[in-house]
Subunit: 339 residues, 2 copies
Amino acid sequence: MGSSNEDAKLAADVLLSADLRGVDSHGVARLGGYVRLWEKGRLNATPNIKVVHETPSTAVIDADLGAGLVVAPKAMKIAMEKAKNVGTGWVAVKNSNHYGIAGYHSMLALEEDMIGWSMTNASPLVSPTFSKSKFLGTNPISVSIPADKQPPVVIDMATTPVANGKLEVLQRKGEDIPLGWAQDENGNPSTDAAILKKGGAMLPLGSDRVHGSHKGYCLGGLVDILSAVLPGANYGPWVPPFVSYVPVPENPVGDGIGHFLGAMRVDAFRPADEFKEHMDNWITTFKNAVPSEGHDQVFVPGDPERELTAKRLKEGIDLLPPVIEDLKKIGESLGVDFE
Amino acid sequence: MGSSNEDAKLAADVLLSADLRGVDSHGVARLGGYVRLWEKGRLNATPNIKVVHETPSTAVIDADLGAGLVVAPKAMKIAMEKAKNVGTGWVAVKNSNHYGIAGYHSMLALEEDMIGWSMTNASPLVSPTFSKSKFLGTNPISVSIPADKQPPVVIDMATTPVANGKLEVLQRKGEDIPLGWAQDENGNPSTDAAILKKGGAMLPLGSDRVHGSHKGYCLGGLVDILSAVLPGANYGPWVPPFVSYVPVPENPVGDGIGHFLGAMRVDAFRPADEFKEHMDNWITTFKNAVPSEGHDQVFVPGDPERELTAKRLKEGIDLLPPVIEDLKKIGESLGVDFE
């Protein structure tokens, strides 16, 4: 596509890390989506990424329609530089595209004993509580927190009960989805895994008002505001869709989609050794919580993805045949040999 | 209790703002709790609040066992000063006590066109997903975001489906709670409103694994880590309880309970006028989302509390007879006339 080697390697690393962590929907299976956006002129493979506004602890970046896969790690590095200087750094990004898994970017901070933050808005699929309008993406929040001998705490979560990929999996299997994941076109509960194609919407974390869906709506809204209203990207229903055959909404309110990245130096608060020792204690305490009846293990955020990564590094990653076909086709069209 | 007039007024303001906003459980009804902690020597009415560590964008405060009601607004002011200087300010507080409603503190930032953040850990009542150990409080997150002509977005949410007060209300009425709010002592779902007294626990936002309770657990854990591991307060099962008759856990891992407060200058990212205009557009867009069948209005975070405040400022605030009795008793014991 004309990307620099460095950018191509970085993008590949972000996609592969999703596959390793078990977020298959955000891994190499998605490469085709980026290529098709590029073919339509909606993704720039050689972006001129610029800081357009800054203070000692903040910056706004215009990503020049680059792939978020490449833009977000660079924004994170700027946040970390600022954290080195003044304790914390916060970078909001506009004019970007899908950035892969949120956790990749927040985890970059761990190398420097920093707490990393990463959020992005995304194509609107989710309805606010009491509404049938699709105004929010599954807007993920990731925060990574370093420890000493224990592996880090890595939070990486959509602000919905499940990611959209889970609905697609059940749809392919011809199975129903549980109540509380999605609603129909009138805003009534639905168990139809294909309901999004019939005018339905995903629900915010909490599922319904009685179980706190207004809180999931708050979180999705927060991600939208920090990622997009703050830097000047598109928000709410104006977020441009990732799929290239869906047109970009008319009368945009900003540029591209937006991200929000942050880095907090641990030793801007207390000596790093002290903090990390207490994190080890926090982690072992929660890991050793007493399991409920029928369960034998309590997890700490990041454990399941780490277990899967270890397994996949050993056994390899299974790719579905359609993904392999798609990768072959992309290779042919761009002159890259599949083997 | 010997507090300065200034501190007493500030604490009263925080409690009253809870009553006005409809969070009755955190209003003047709770005054007795603070007094009883003070009687036990677990709350210092004349604290020497000190910054013990800082960088240009961060600080850690030792609250000297002061009431969080008084400590948190002061910590927020320090965060705002830092934001004025370098764009953002982040203050973690240790050795504190219950700070009332999270939203009071985050809203302080609005006066200066800043985005305010406020979190606190709290007495452990909530179990991690798959566990029956009570290791987390209802650990709230509040973020306040200024707008122009529209009222601000004010997020103020426990990281559980409901606050503990909702269980107490249904318990007094002799009614069941919905499935998804709490579990019994074995970690099985329960509809018993008194289940916490029988060894049960509250559930994280999401209610169960299928509906994303691991995400609520992530959020509660994040609040615990930022509020307590970062400044050196007690975390997880070591958080000292608010109720004075429950003893403080042995072998504390830090000092008191902890808070985390933040301020981000909007114009550290983009001109404030521009941001606030787009916030007006965000707010009116979401307010005008199409309601689901059976609903006639979609809310923006902060709307319900604002409506209730307007009503209560006009009609007054109903206090339950036991609350009035408790206030009278406190007044008698401290030589303050109730009228």
